[in-house]
Symmetry: none
Subunit: 372 residues, 2 copies
């Protein structure tokens, strides 16, 4: 999508040096726009772990590029040593964010591809570069297709509203900044906006890291989509008063049974949507499905992050992004990053193949090759 009128992806190979990966550092957004160079696997691991980038698709794409960088720097004297280093680097990348299924998926896709091309190291490096680019291209293409499918739901609601904007609530950032382009939750919104369907987005602030207030608001603002930032506490009240026509969120991991892991607080919005008859959709590419687990609340590991992300917050003060203390200095804080929304609260899943029920039957209907 566009930033200051110029098209960007969220990750790419440097134009004049394809051994360097470039990303938009999301930490100083929306106040400053910073492009960061990643030279080593440690740079990539740090960028994922410390959330210079975040979001299911982008974490996967970054891990894909990370494995290409790993291949560039792995020992070249034997295929065994080369592969052993790549396996170790893959483990390092996988360890950065425990809940993100795309990370594991991208690392293994790379390892499989690199193994499949024979023992020539240069061929392996070329394969890693090719797969990294392919993962990024597929991510963008899948998101574009999610937009094509999801826009039909918005269009349908719009027909009933006689030209009034369709009010869509979203939580966290499942926008293009969480993927390579378009986003998942935002893809139908951008598609609707670009087709002239009037939309208005309620942007959940998304404490503690404020991905909504900082990133979703920023990208909607850049693209000219009408939106309003709200505290995470507000959505239930809006739904009680008919001010939300639908909810669309992304997901970090969705089970084939329909249980959805997403940013902490998603479950609360799903409960409110269910209580008020508001449709609650989850948009995801197939790479975000977990085909092994059945019970999300019991089986999905939930990352616990540092207390300081709750106790301090970044904001703009006198032209600089500074961190301010919000709580008593010695009060403890706990910081679970995700929660699980049970399938019973989800109206439907919007995937690159189409829309389905959040149920084993629904998901396997779209992905019959996953039937056991």
């Amino acid at each position: 999508m566009n930033v200051h009128g110029k098209h960007y992806r969220t990750i790419w190979l440097k134009e004049d040096d394809d051994t360097v990966v470039q990303i938009i550092d999301q930490r100083p957004l929306p106040h400053k726009f910073v492009i960061e160079d990643l030279h080593t696997v440690d740079d990539v691991a740090r960028a994922i772990k410390d959330m210079h980038i975040r979001g299911a698709g982008l974490v996967g794409a970054t891990a894909g590029y990370g494995m290409y960088i790993a291949a560039l720097h792995a020992p070249k004297d034997s295929a065994e040593a080369f592969t052993a280093q790549l396996v170790a680097d893959g483990e390092k990348l996988k360890a950065t964010r425990p809940t993100a299924v795309n990370l594991e998926w991208a690392v293994h896709r790379q390892l499989d591809a690199i193994a499949a091309v024979g023992d020539n190291i240069d061929t392996k490096i070329a394969a890693a570069k090719n797969i990294a680019q392919t993962i990024a291209d597929e991510d963008a293409d899948f998101c574009r297709r999610i937009g094509e499918h999801g826009v039909s739901i918005i269009e349908e609601i719009s027909k009933r509203k006689n030209g009034e904007p369709v009010n869509i609530l979203t939580h966290c950032n499942a926008g293009w900044m969480a993927f390579v382009d378009y986003g998942t939750a935002t893809a139908p919104i951008y598609a609707a906006h670009d087709r002239g369907i009037p939309v208005h987005v309620w942007v959940d602030e998304t404490r503690p890291r404020n991905q909504g207030a900082r990133i979703t608001a920023w990208e909607l603002n850049e693209h000219g989509v009408p939106h309003t930032v709200i505290a995470d506490n507000v959505g239930g009240h809006l739904m009680q008063h008919g001010m939300v026509d639908m909810v669309i969120v992304g997901t970090d991991r969705t089970l084939y049974t329909g249980d959805v892991a997403n940013k902490i607080g998603t479950y609360l919005k799903a409960l409110a949507a269910h209580d008020n008859g508001v449709p609650f959709y989850v948009a995801l590419p197939s790479s975000t499905f977990d085909w092994t687990k059945r019970d999300g609340v019991k089986e999905i590991p939930i990352e616990e992050r540092g207390a300081d992300e709750v106790k301090y917050i970044n904001g703009l003060y006198n032209g600089e992004v500074v961190s301010v203390l919000l709580t008593p200095a010695d009060s403890p804080a706990t910081n679970y990053a995700f929660d699980v929304t049970p399938a019973r609260l989800v109206t439907g899943l919007i995937t690159e193949r189409g829309i389905c029920d959040a149920s084993e039957e629904g998901v396997l209907g779209l992905y019959p090759e996953k039937r056991k």
Copy 2:
């Protein structure tokens, strides 16, 4: 309750000069503990209007003391001139927070008492002092009694937990800082803690004004009650995983039918409690009941506050409390201050008279004089 190991109320007469009212200035909390002297009616009006103090009970008590200060400074040459000045000062105090019902109640209670004691000015001043103290004492006593009733619920849960702490989630600040002492939601918690029942409080941050992270965390910390600050998004996840034994919140207005208006986001926690079988209690003195309306969602007006409370936040930076920008500068924000939790989601109401169902039958059972 205790601050730095010493017992305080939120408002009192200065020890060596009973013509001066002292309050804890809540604006710099939790970062700085400041006691403020109020000498004149204008000082008192400013303290209420600019929210040096806030909270239903404390606003009423402060108005009560304000009328005593008014009496001290009113013309002493005739009862008529004295009373006229008090009526004018009462109007000034009532105008500070026009929706705060306790304000009007305290002013009129003072005017009635001052009129009732005859024409001697010194007797009138003594009456004003007496009523100011009585309002404060009654507020503290009602809260203490809420604690006595509510602690039985905590005690019951504690028996099942074999010495493990009872985990209580609260939203916003219905602590002693919103009243004269004890608080409402916190009163059962302080009572349990003081009796040696192990408790641990999950403190909802309570965006956008962070009354939880700033004030509830501070008062629990000062009194030595184990607690953990969480983002407002986290409560649902904790309840899904058995980490919350009960929820207790305060209320700004509760209908006699059981519908509860409280700080925005309360409804979301009530939904999660209901979905996970966690008891959800609302603590209130009888002055907070609305005996006229029946349907909270439809009939209770919800205050909409300024967007900058969402877009900016105060925090400690380099030893000073500063305001930082969180969102894109030109993104709009909306700021509803309260929401309504329907009675069907409320396990019970804890009042100074006891605990009852959140229903017309339950409430009128405790307050039979309100039957029509």
